[in-house]
Symmetry: D3
Subunit: 279 residues, 6 copies
């Protein structure tokens, strides 16, 4: 059992679902984010406020950890200047601090948006070349390449989880891209308990009939999702407006991020309401 595990972005939508299961995998879970308070803590959990973009704030939080689960970042498309601190420099700070302090592995919330401009008909594996759809996706590309380099040059392991859409299934794209919270938890758990991972990439998607990506090359991680968005298909398809055959939001893996102008929020069109876990 690990002694210390760090979770960044603990106050975020996905982070809030990871706190409880992660707290059971270690003696001490240090949750961190930029808010003052994340509510009631789980057993073994401690909260430390820190700004990822400031090495002087995040490095002490990471010191002494066995692994870091790095989910902290702005979770939507914004202008480059806005994302530069938390999403780009923040990633550098996490890896550099992890290396300086002898952390063994970083588990990273990457995203389908790192490869979002591939067409859905180009069924993509984990070896698909980067093709970001937004500055948000560009930051994921940056962190994945950084992770690759820290493994190759410094032996710091990394598992990059290219999450598709961990949100409600309220549109046809989500019938393929859904990642349920239970499957998210399984995915993060596998990324932690696999004995050696080197630099690994894996898609975060449930066992949906219509899942448009291929995880075969990451089979050794043992991720076998259980949920299937097809249960929502009949209703979602009945309510969906007719699709334009040439609509980028339909044709590309990135969905609405593929059609949104660079720098503008792509979330609105996904109808994601705040369903952050209540403690």
């Amino acid at each position: 059992m690990m002694k210390k595990l760090v979770l960044t972005g603990a106050a975020g939508r996905l982070g809030s679902y990871l706190r409880e299961p992660l707290s059971k995998l270690c003696e001490e879970l240090v949750s961190t984010d930029i808010v003052d308070d994340i509510g009631t803590l789980y057993q073994g959990e401690r909260y430390e406020k820190a700004d990822l973009a400031q090495m002087s704030e995040i490095a002490p939080v990471i010191a002494g950890a066995d692994m870091v689960v790095h989910f902290g970042a702005i979770g939507d498309e914004r202008p480059f200047e806005v994302l530069l601190g938390p999403n780009f420099i923040g990633a550098y700070n996490v890896w550099e601090a992890a290396y300086q302090h002898g952390v063994r592995r970083v588990v990273y919330a990457s995203s389908i948006h790192a490869v979002g401009m591939h067409k859905k008909q180009d069924f993509i594996g984990i070896d698909a070349p980067h093709r970001p759809d937004t500055f948000y996706g560009l930051a994921k590309c940056f962190a994945e390449d950084l992770a690759s380099m820290y493994w190759d040059k410094r032996g710091l392991e990394a598992v990059c989880l290219r999450i598709l859409s961990a949100a409600q299934v309220n549109n046809p794209r989500a019938l393929g891209s859904w990642l349920s919270y239970d499957d998210l938890i399984q995915l993060v758990t596998r990324a932690i308990d696999t004995p050696t991972t080197g630099f690994s990439v894996i898609y975060g998607v449930s066992n949906n009939d219509r899942a448009p990506v291929d995880n075969h090359l990451a089979s050794y991680l043992g991720y076998r999702p259980k949920d299937n968005a097809e249960q929502f298909a009949e209703q979602v398809l009945a309510e969906a407006p007719p699709a334009d055959p040439t609509d980028a939001a339909q044709m590309y893996h990135g969905g609405p991020f593929a059609s949104v102008p660079l720098g503008e929020s792509g979330v609105a069109s996904m109808n994601i309401i705040n369903d952050k876990k209540e403690v």
Copy 2:
């Protein structure tokens, strides 16, 4: 819900199984074939007799449709001259009429025989190059290429279903190639309800243990077959004569069509009896 859906080949073996489920996906199902009568109609179904090889007959049937499910053709190997009208020109007529009348998508009964001369050991994906085994298969290649072009040049969507063998499981090859009627219906339904498809190809085969083809690249269509021919394996294998290791009918994906002389019926050896659905 679609207003008008057209089914060609409605009197054929496979068409007869599609009439009922298709009638439930639209306000009006127009079934068409070259026979005078297809028996009792389902709710919302209308029958129109038309010869596919005559543009003047088939175009009016297609006019106003949202989609066409094109299963009409001679369903066996015949001399080229015999297939030219219904299987080649018929396909052209369907796509051209569909384009002229603003139809959105054609769902097409292609066939394993478009790629039947690949060896079974060369596990083929949906991107396998054409390698027809008969004039029958050559017509499927023609229609697939036509479909590709109408999408690339004119934005008319197409889903080509390369059906393996939608017939009884009474020989060892069918243990791998069987497509049950339920799975056929699921397959056609997915080809219709997927919001955008562009030009897609997918194999029509059940979830057989011994299925010899790969649909991974078409995962976004969400086809997940449920039936498995392995239930028939013990009896079929016990009754099968010893196989010749170099028999083309065993070694090639096309099965009996791979060994039959061009222009001669390949169905006899498959013991397909007429199990057309009774209404």
Copy 3:
């Protein structure tokens, strides 16, 4: 040395350049086309008028030949109905007659337009899947698939030459796609003198710096083009109008055929003047 060689399309633009070199590879060259007369004959050459679309006309011409060099067809985009006879049925007639009369090999003038809707950035090899840009290209796909089948099922060899543009270099695309007449002659000669070919496909393009296709997989045919369109680059690029980065005629292998509406001539925009060889 072959006894009898048949050249179809002998009165065409490319055919007129092949008559002399082919006449030297055989005891008797039978040139055929639909015109009444092709002018002065070369030594050993005989002319027979025949309509490819009529089996009764073309079969007697082919009878007794060792090989057929099949260049006869309408050489531009036309409506499907116009191409059906000469380009589709004509190809069937040639292969079927060749098979019936024991011909060993068909050397076929296929075209880049069989794969013209691939993007130029998708550097394509001879194994690129069909993606026709016109009915003209669709006929090439049809003949290639037919050729594949006659080899697999009947042992009739075929070499399909996917010619890019055997015309003057008067536009930027031609800097990559040019096939000089000398290289055309080398290509056809290799297709004839290679001892065994099975079913082969090879691109017909000169040794241009900017050649956009890959013949590596056909290296065994020994085609090594000598000419290079780069000699025309400075002038052509200086005179060319600014390119639209999203123009299909620039982005796709098919060039102007990729942007022309189906059924309409694509040649006009290529400024091909009639430079048929004078005898």
Copy 4:
């Protein structure tokens, strides 16, 4: 039903589990090994002692068989000189005798160690090039290449089962590599009852969540494992010592064989106790 089936290595750990199921697939099962006695025989089973390395001993055992299931060999790493007789020459003797006596097919216990030096992150299919980790693995490479040649040149079919680890699940690697005895039996049965196989290769691994190899290209064999080592994951991972991220035994498919010096036993570190089946 086959008349005569030969099982080599019948006294070995895996062979002892195959005797009973194989005895049911034929009229006569001839079990052979180098021990004097293999205990109580199953119905239809006969035992013949023979040294694989001696053609004069093994050929008479094989004469008259329909198929040979060849599991006989030294089952661990040893110096080349020690393996030369049983593992190399023994394989040659089996195939040559099989050919001389008209046997139809050899089902062979190959091993992951034929490709053991591929990294686990390089998810390998059945077409992965040889990369042996030991002399033991080198012998498997030799026999696979021999099998390929006997099929290509002499029409003798072969199915090479690259078994991962058919042993207890008592270490993290085995969570991916485990092959249960039930699945082994299914695998051998499929290798026998598939009508035609030519030369086939397939991995012998259960349906483990963490299975690190890919059998898709061998789907036509219909092997669908049922067991899953994940049932042992919690306990195994809890008891495992921390992994070194650069340990060859963790990073390579060969596991302990990848890190053991050539010629030295690799089994000790796998804690394989003798769990040979008792009759």
Copy 5:
């Protein structure tokens, strides 16, 4: 002929060789760098001092240009914080300013160090996934991904030149990696005069016998290098110390950058002296 062309990094080692040839391709060449003065100007050349890391300085320089040739950056490995401004933010500024001002294409000095951790035995094409060897290489990955996105989302063309080593041939690695100045000039010229490029990647390497990378997929750009480092082979090999078979600087494409610690200069070991072109 272009009206205005911008060259960044004009005072750098490679930039100084590009000024003269670029000045001949346009009416006005605007050279820019952070030095006060770049010496005598060529005909049609104008110099403007600007800091790439400051949008307010670089944007006005770019305004009104047809294309930007972007060679400005720190040309060696440095700590991330040092490269952040010129190499990361500078690239963003160039693309964003180019987009805002309607520039058609950016020609970018990328580097082999974007993929430097691939093994030399893994012959890499232009589609090799990113695998940076340094923060310097990571910045190249960032800019390539940025370029891909600006093309996909905004239609701004880019040609990324992955330069190997444009320096003297004084070590064995350079026998493969050398890019002569003449070939560099040809490469940049092709990147400019090719009519449409979309997003393209190409290796910058001469026609060396030992060149370790593959430009086939970029053949349409028409780059055909003329120089060959083999002329230096005899002397270089005679003077080279014996190689360690496992030395990263020998085994990886990145050469000395593959073995240098992150953040430390990798140039020293390459014996690159300042051979900047004198005007």
Copy 6:
């Protein structure tokens, strides 16, 4: 300059051409074979008689060498029992002795016959899976796999030269497969002077127009053949008997070895006369 280089098979047809050039690459060339005498020695050359199949004879010859150029073996198809000693055990002895005595690299005369059952139309790269055509080819597969393992496990480098046909060009196959003596010498020189090679495979073939194999993946070795068998094409093709389109000797890479029965000489049909170099 190397101190000691060992050449096995020095009395053989190819070995006799290598003695002189190799003697110039080292202070001492130790030539070895099973004959008593190899005639006049070159400067710096010493001859030692040794039987490869006897470790006690070959090990002392190898002791102290920097590299071994291993060309010793029976150079034709023979029964397995005949090849076992010199071709199989001999290879093991060379690698094991090389390892025991700290030799850095083995340069090995492998052969196209290791992959001879691939069809010529399946243009093969150096990564083509083994598919031997004879026991002779099987021994080459064995040695290549052995070489791979000694590199992976023990750091002993190897370059395996898959020679096609280093013999006179007197048949159509040789127009593609010819390796001139000059190109052979260049190939062996590159295999020696490349600083690090790990485990490498490369085809030994001249720059023939009709060369049927692909060396791109080994470009880093810098082998650029100069000779071209096309100079012999006119005469060879004129004299060749008509080819049977289905003749294995024509269709497969192995040529006559692909059609010869296992264990019988394949050389006779190649008309190889003894053109061993005279000293």
